[in-house]
Each structure stands twice: as structure tokens, then as C-alpha cells.
């Protein structure tokens, strides 16, 4: 393995070549796509729904807006945004993983949400849209899986309209030591076992726990967003900092 930091990145606790990470992440999500929603509810005891509600409440989205739900997976946020932007708006559900997109499309079709949703397979580091295209970009539990996060943030900044905002919902660093210990125990001991039992894939959920620990903490991510050009960048800790919602604007 080449240990040159410019050519390597982390995949959980492993160090891998940058060129390999995307396909390794893709394998994880191909594997869990069909059980993704069930596992989300199970692993977070349903609290992920409240985290996503907070994201929508902070989005300022309204009729006619163009929204990109990046790494949108099975479309939880897209479902709400699709209704809030109405017929004159547009939501793009983007994900690098075709299996996740397929599950998301099926789920949204079954909910009767058609007409203002596009499904696009895309890489967050090179978003296939013109400059100044979107009023809102959200990326929920996706940024930590991106190989070059700085490049992805710059790409998001480019396609946001002036006045638009980026919302990053992502696992982060718990604020209190006791919570952190309990969370570590849960993530490394119980989570992979739950993954093994329900999705028959303990390794993917071991990666989930590891990738969360490798993800930048609240202040680091805020600094990265500022570096990418975002202004008025703030974050809100949810559930004691287990998850943080970062918000930045383009002016």
C-alpha cells in the first residue's frame, strides 16, 4: 500500500488508495440498500427522523425552489422537499450508488411523489450541474463517505445560487464524555451485531462506526465549509452532538 498521504485516504480505520474508496463505499451501500430504512430506524431508535425534520425546519425551502438532496439515499428528505417546493419547484435526488437510487425511486413512486423529482447518479466531487443552479443543497449522512470532502464542498458551493444554502447533516463528536463512552460501546459492540442479524452484513456496519469516528468534528467541518467559500457558517448539535447540522450560505 502506498502511504503517500496525497494518494491515500481512510476507509473506516483502514488506509486505502483514494482511487479505491468510492468503489469500496459503493460495495457497502449496494450491500445494505434494501434494508437501509429498516436499519436506520433500528440503529437510531427512530431518532434519525427527528434529525431529518430539523434539517427541513432549517432549510427555508418554499414553493418554486430548486433543491439538490445529495447522497439522498432512499429519499426521506426528497419526499418532504418534493411537497414543499410544489409543482413549480424541482428536487434532484442524487446519489453515487445506483442501488440506493433504485430503492429511493421505488419508495417515492409508491408514495405517489412523481412529477417534480429527478433521479441522478452523481459523484459529489464533480456535480454535473451548471453554476448557480440550486436554492438549497442537503447532504445527510453522506459527506463522510466522500473521498475528497473539500473538493465536494467546493463543488456544492459552485452550483448553489447566490443566497442559497448548504445543509450538512452528519454524525459528529458527542459533547459529553459519558455520552461518548456509551456511544462508542454501542457503535462498536452492538451496531455490527445488529447489522449481522438484520441485514446479514456486520462488516458494513463496522465500517459505519469507524467512518463516523474518522469524520471531522463540528469545528473542523465548519472550517472546511468556510474554506470552500461558505459564509455565516453555523452548526447545531443534535442529540448531544452525536449528530450535527451544519449550515452555510453562498452570497
Amino acid at each position: 500500500m502506498n502511504e503517500n498521504p496525497e494518494k491515500t485516504t481512510h476507509f473506516g480505520y483502514k488506509t486505502v488508495a483514494k482511487t479505491e474508496k468510492a468503489s469500496m463505499v459503493a460495495d457497502v451501500f449496494h450491500s445494505v440498500a434494501t434494508k437501509y430504512d429498516v436499519m436506520n430506524d433500528l440503529m437510531s431508535f427512530g431518532i434519525h427522523r427527528l434529525w431529518k425534520r430539523q434539517t427541513i425546519a432549517s432549510s427555508g425551502v418554499r414553493k418554486g425552489h430548486h433543491v439538490l438532496d445529495l447522497a439522498g439515499g432512499t429519499g426521506d428528505l426528497t419526499a418532504k422537499f418534493s411537497q414543499l417546493v410544489g409543482d413549480t419547484g424541482q428536487v434532484v435526488l442524487g446519489d453515487i450508488n445506483s442501488s440506493m437510487l433504485k430503492v429511493g425511486r421505488e419508495k417515492l413512486h409508491n408514495l405517489g411523489l412523481v412529477g417534480n423529482i429527478d433521479y441522478v447518479q452523481m459523484n459529489a466531487e464533480a456535480l454535473p450541474f451548471p453554476d448557480n443552479s440550486f436554492d438549497l443543497i442537503t447532504i445527510a449522512f453522506g459527506l463522510r463517505n466522500v473521498t475528497d470532502q473539500n473538493k465536494a464542498l467546493r463543488s456544492m458551493y459552485r452550483i448553489l445560487k447566490p443566497g442559497g444554502r448548504l445543509l450538512v447533516l452528519e454524525f459528529s463528536k458527542p459533547e459529553h464524555q459519558v455520552l461518548s463512552k456509551a456511544y462508542d460501546f454501542y457503535s462498536f459492540n452492538l451496531l455490527p451485531k445488529m447489522g449481522e442479524l438484520v441485514a446479514n452484513d456486520g462488516e458494513s456496519y463496522k465500517y459505519l462506526a469507524e467512518s463516523i469516528r474518522m469524520h471531522p468534528d463540528q469545528e473542523t467541518l465548519k472550517a472546511m465549509m468556510n474554506e470552500a467559500g461558505f459564509e455565516q457558517t453555523t452548526y447545531q448539535n443534535l442529540t448531544g452532538g452525536i449528530v450535527a447540522l451544519h449550515r452555510g450560505f453562498k452570497y
Binding site: R53, A57, S58, R62, Q83, L84
Partner: protein, 201 residues
């Protein structure tokens, strides 16, 4: 997060009402996609309500983007069950309203006219006769409890008024205190005099 959880439950209840009263959706259609921001002053919380045509969305938010904003305390907002009160409350400065008044009136009117046919919905589970009987029982219990409440309230008011009559006035209390102080002074003088007489012996 607790706020979010409670708001999610309320949103769920609102959407259940939307399903149970099909006419509610029609009444809200004129204000579809319009954002009503409700600022509850005494709770220092803001809630955004949007009807999207399919569902009602309710969020606890700090965003200041709205088509209409109502700011009032919770008791004033409860008075809005009667839509006719809206203008009166604004005149009384109990309620601030910014933006399009029709949106606030639209929501208020739609929910004031909420009419859920409970026997019809319950009949799916219990059958027509049982559902009707259950509904009548609920109505009777409701009427009885209203009567009992009214009676209790009247009794309590009467008791308070009677108690007020026998309660001494603050001035009377002050006078009593003054008399007690004078009596205390007299007793002290008497004690002094007795002691002097005893010593003179």
C-alpha cells in the same frame, strides 16, 4: 429534540384530521403552499405550518421566511378557534400579524369548521349500531362532564364569595395589631408597677 418529537406528533394528528375530514383539504386548498409562521410569545417558540395540497407540514423553526406571521401568547391563540375574534384581537394589541391576513384566516376558518364523522369512521371497526351507540355515549359523557364542570365552577365561585364576606379587611387587621401593641404596653407598665410595689415592701 423533545420539541421536535412533540411537533412531529402534532403534525401526525393534524394529518389524521385531514384524512378523517375530507372537506378540510378543500377548505385549505386556497392557501396551499403558503407559509404561516406562528410565534408563541410565552413559549418563545416559532412554528411553521404549510399545507402542500397533500399533507400539512408543521416545523419548529427559527427561520423568518413566511407569507404570514402571527405573534401572540398561547391563550390569545386559543381564542382564534373563533375566526371572528381575529380582527378584534389585533385591535386589542393582543396579536401581531404580518403579511397576508387571508392566510391566517384561511387556516383559522378551515380548522374551526372541522367536522369529523366519528360514527362513520368507527363503524369500520365496530359496525354501524355499536359505533352509533358508542358515539352517543361519548357525547352524553361530554355533556355530563360539561355540566359537572359548570356546577363545580359555580360552587367554587359561591364559596369564594362567601369566604370573602367573612374575611377581615386589611384595615381591621391593622387596627387589631395596634390594639394588641397597646395592650402589651399596658401589661408591661403594670408589671413594672407591681415590681416597684413589691420592692417598696
Amino acid at each position: 429534540m423533545l420539541n421536535n418529537f412533540i411537533v412531529a406528533i402534532i403534525e401526525c394528528i393534524l394529518n389524521t384530521a385531514l384524512e378523517l375530514d375530507p372537506t378540510l383539504s378543500d377548505r385549505l386548498s386556497s392557501i396551499a403552499q403558503k407559509r404561516l409562521l406562528i410565534d408563541i410569545r410565552d413559549w418563545q417558540q416559532q412554528f411553521l405550518v404549510v399545507f402542500t395540497g397533500q399533507q400539512l407540514h408543521l416545523y419548529n423553526t427559527t427561520e423568518q421566511q413566511f407569507d404570514c406571521m402571527i405573534s401572540a401568547d398561547i391563550q390569545t391563540l386559543m381564542a382564534l378557534k373563533n375566526p371572528a375574534m381575529l380582527t378584534q384581537l389585533i385591535r386589542q394589541d393582543k396579536l401581531d400579524l404580518q403579511g397576508d391576513l387571508n392566510i391566517a384566516q384561511g387556516f383559522s376558518n378551515a380548522f374551526a369548521a372541522l367536522n369529523i364523522d366519528w360514527p362513520e369512521h368507527l363503524s369500520d371497526y365496530l359496525g354501524d349500531a355499536a359505533a352509533q351507540q358508542l358515539w352517543q355515549l361519548v357525547k352524553q359523557t361530554q355533556q355530563q362532564s360539561q355540566k359537572v364542570n359548570k356546577k363545580l365552577s359555580t360552587t367554587l365561585t359561591t364559596l369564594c364569595q362567601d369566604e370573602l364576606k367573612v374575611t377581615i379587611h386589611p384595615l381591621e387587621l391593622e387596627q387589631f395589631k395596634q390594639h394588641t401593641r397597646q395592650l402589651k404596653a399596658h401589661v408591661a407598665q403594670l408589671e413594672l408597677r407591681i415590681n416597684q410595689l413589691l420592692q417598696a415592701k
